[in-house]
């Protein structure tokens, strides 16, 4: 039994975390978050992460990638979530995965190398609000695409968009096709979202898109869960550290048992969920019959937990935790995205119940 990360995986996370520590501390995230105008990502940081190989993780080695597994991608997602990193990781990683799983050899060779290197940016267009996210709920049809996709990450900056179609298939739309993009005034300004409206946009079907689509959907659930774990765990640590330092009535507030128990409740909600998201990633990689169900459970449980933990974090900090200047609101808003994107916990639980055969 070895339900642990390998030394290589530890090294991967350490390199990403190290970079984030240097280039993406809390102050930096606030600066990006508060940049006037539409939310934008941190191109320099994304470029540095690309040099570390982050966008290449699951791209096959034959196409310039590292050929690793979802667990590797997920632990990086955790690290990015922990730092609230303002980079286009989510859409890009999923688009690269979609092409890796669903593209013909020709398609892979055409697109993947530039995605693996980070030279180009890609994203996925899945959502059709409200609450319709899954392959069997998609509706766009046709040789050329007409219709709207919602909450598309970084569509404005993307060189290509992998779009979910009504047949459960996937198609690639390139930057110069006929579509318009409207950036939302989204809560989570570390991960901008766009509404994308296609009008007879030329699109190229991925050869094995219908097979890839549900796998990409499940991977998305796992990556969100991992992000949520990283963020929630960071919030717990932040609250604990604050309690040790902040003094009231002549002693650190950590001395007050009421607060101690509240901190324990936060840790008790968060720490055990690590195993859940690890398992969901591992199941995606190695246990196909358990993968779908585990992905849904992980997304549902972690998204719910993360959002609650950010609320608890505000309370643990008192007034200062409610201000724009404090880190908490950035995490709460990431939690809001992790909660809503790809469908709410309720929808994922419903799906998990169906898959369990209940």
């Amino acid at each position: 039994m070895n339900f642990l990360l390998s030394p290589e995986q530890h090294a991967l996370v350490d390199s990403v975390s190290g970079l984030l520590r240097d280039r993406c501390d809390a102050l930096h995230v606030h600066q990006v978050f508060d940049t006037p105008g539409e939310a934008a990502f941190d191109a320099a940081l994304w470029s540095a992460l690309s040099e570390l190989g982050v966008p290449a993780i699951m791209v096959p080695e034959a196409h310039g990638g590292l050929g690793l597994e979802l667990i590797d991608l997920a632990i990086v997602s955790e690290a990015l979530g922990r730092a609230a990193a303002p980079v286009p990781f989510l859409g890009h990683a999923l688009a690269a995965l979609a092409i890796s799983l669903g593209g013909s050899e020709e398609q892979k060779e055409r697109w993947l190398p530039a995605l693996a290197s980070g030279e180009k940016i890609a994203t996925v267009a899945f959502g059709e609000s409200p609450g319709r996210w899954a392959p069997d709920e998609w509706t766009l049809l046709g040789e050329t695409l007409t219709g709207t996709k919602t909450m598309v990450p970084n569509a404005k900056e993307a060189d290509l968009i992998v779009v979910g179609l009504g047949t459960g298939a996937l198609a690639v739309v390139e930057k110069d096709a006929s579509f318009t993009v409207a950036r939302l005034d989204v809560a989570d300004r570390t991960r901008p979202l766009d509404t994308v409206t296609f009008t007879d946009a030329s699109a190229e079907l991925l050869a094995n898109g219908t097979v890839a689509a549900p796998r990409v959907f499940d991977a998305a659930a796992v990556l969100l869960a991992a992000d949520a774990f990283g963020g929630a765990d960071h919030c717990v640590n932040m609250s604990v550290e604050y309690a040790k330092i902040r003094e009231q009535y002549g002693q650190p507030i950590a001395a007050f048992q009421g607060l101690r128990y509240q901190l324990v409740a936060m840790a008790l909600a968060t720490e055990p969920a690590r195993g859940l998201y690890w398992f969901a990633a591992h199941a995606w990689d190695a246990l196909p019959e358990k993968a779908r169900h585990a992905a849904g459970q992980a997304k549902a449980h972690l998204a719910e937990t993360y959002l609650q933990v950010t609320r608890d974090t505000v309370e643990a900090h008192g007034g200062i935790g409610f201000t724009w200047e404090h880190d908490t609101h950035i995490y709460m808003k990431r939690a809001m995205l992790d909660w809503a994107w790809l469908g709410t916990p309720s929808r994922h639980r419903q799906r998990a119940a169906d898959l369990a055969g209940w």
């Binding site: 409200p130 939302l184 989204v186 009535y249 309370e315 808003k333 809503a340």
Partner: protein, 398 residues
């Protein structure tokens, strides 16, 4: 049992309504002008409808305590959207001035405060001090000629400081004194170069609170209220407010109505969300709590009106409402789904409410301070050793 005020008050309500109708809206139709508001407030005071507990000598209307009349007045003012005469900070400073102010301070400040010509904010909390007022660091020193106080330091969580003319502060005036002594209560005009006001932006993007920085700010020596170095005692002044909590229920009731409306509008699985068993049952459970809030408030109010003991609920009300607001906001979240991530969208109000239900638990004392108060005052648990001074500060901040 009677949930209304009863027929004996009908005539009074009619009087109030007639008065308001003849004074509001103002003739020129400008609902926002200070002059119009002021004229209305002055007339209402004259009539005995406002500032009822303040002596006429200081600009109040000096009426006998009657929570039912006060509630009827409040209801009618709200119905007509007329000025309420209430300005948050002003209600906190007037009792202090009445009890501890010099005759000159009373004459100078109370009447213009009641009419809104002077607007106050409170400067108690400091960065790093929060509700632990014993550790505050803002200091005031007498100028060498002894005519004025020179103030340096900063205050935080001052509501609406940017709309205020004056601030009442706790400041350290006796540098050698022990930590819990040497604090004085000082009145300071905000409109001077030594004062800088910086808004605190909240996670909702709203700006309700401020930091106030004093950099050699000044106030005349006679702006100290009560005894020098004993500001602690001074802050404990309160009037017996004619407040029933009934008006405090306005926002949870309206939040619930909005929630029901939302759940009828939003769809889930092809039907209104309110038809979804999960959402429906949680809504009903929330309504059960809301009804508990409402009828416990009626009971508390009745105890007050009839001068009977036994009202423990009033002490619990804030925490109860905070929890309830959070529960409502979460159900709304579950219903709006995707829109919950979009602060530019149609559901911004619910996102704000999701967050504000947290700030409620902070403003005016965190939920944990509420718990401490309930533990002591309602459950009668012995005071905690570690929180002994906490309770003192709460008294001061209340």
């Amino acid at each position: 049992m009677d949930l209304g005020f009863g027929p004996e008050y009908d005539a009074f309500r009619a009087e109030v309504r007639a008065f308001i109708a003849s004074h509001w809206p103002p003739e020129d139709g400008d609902l926002k002008s200070h002059a119009n508001e002021r004229a209305f407030v002055v007339a209402a005071i004259e009539q005995g409808y406002m500032h009822r507990s303040i002596p006429r000598a200081y600009g109040g209307s000096e009426q006998p305590y009657d929570i039912a009349r006060a509630e009827i007045i409040r209801e009618e003012l709200t119905r007509a959207r007329a000025p309420s005469g209430r300005i948050p900070g002003n209600g906190l400073v007037v009792p202090t001035l009445l009890e501890w102010g010099t005759e000159e301070q009373k004459q100078r400040f109370i009447s213009p405060t009641l009419t809104g010509d002077i607007v106050w904010c409170q400067g108690f909390s400091e960065p790093g001090a929060g509700s632990d007022l014993a550790s505050l660091r803002t200091r005031a020193e007498l100028s060498s000629d002894g005519t004025k106080w020179i103030i340096n330091g900063s205050k935080i969580w001052t509501s609406h400081a940017h709309k205020s003319t004056h601030i009442f502060c706790l400041v350290r005036t006796e540098p050698g004194a022990p930590k819990h002594a040497g604090i004085s209560y000082l009145l300071i005009d905000l409109r001077q170069p030594g004062v800088t006001i910086r808004p605190l932006v909240q996670m909702t993007r709203q700006k309700e609170f401020n930091e106030v920085f004093f950099d050699n700010a000044e106030t005349p020596v006679d702006m100290l209220v009560g005894e020098r170095g004993k500001g602690w005692n001074v802050t404990r002044s309160t009037l017996k407010h004619e407040r029933s909590g009934i008006s405090a229920m306005t926002w949870p009731l309206s939040m619930f109505r909005d929630l029901v409306k939302l759940l009828k509008e939003v769809e889930r699985d092809g039907q209104p969300a309110i038809k979804d068993l999960r959402i429906r049952e949680e809504l009903a459970a929330i309504e059960g709590e809301l009804m508990s809030l409402v009828y416990s408030t009626y009971r508390s109010t009745s105890l007050d009106i009839h001068n009977q003991p036994g009202d423990t609920f009033s002490t619990m009300r804030k925490l109860y409402m905070t929890d309830l607001a959070g529960r409502m906001a979460k159900l709304a979240r579950d219903a709006v789904e995707d829109d919950f991530a979009d602060m530019g969208g149609a559901r911004l109000k619910w996102i704000e409410r999701f967050m504000i239900s947290l700030s409620m638990s902070i403003a005016g004392g965190t939920s944990n301070i509420q718990r401490n108060i309930i533990a002591e005052r309602v459950l009668g648990l012995p005071r905690e050793r570690t929180s002994e001074r906490a309770a003192n500060s709460q008294g001061a901040a209340a």
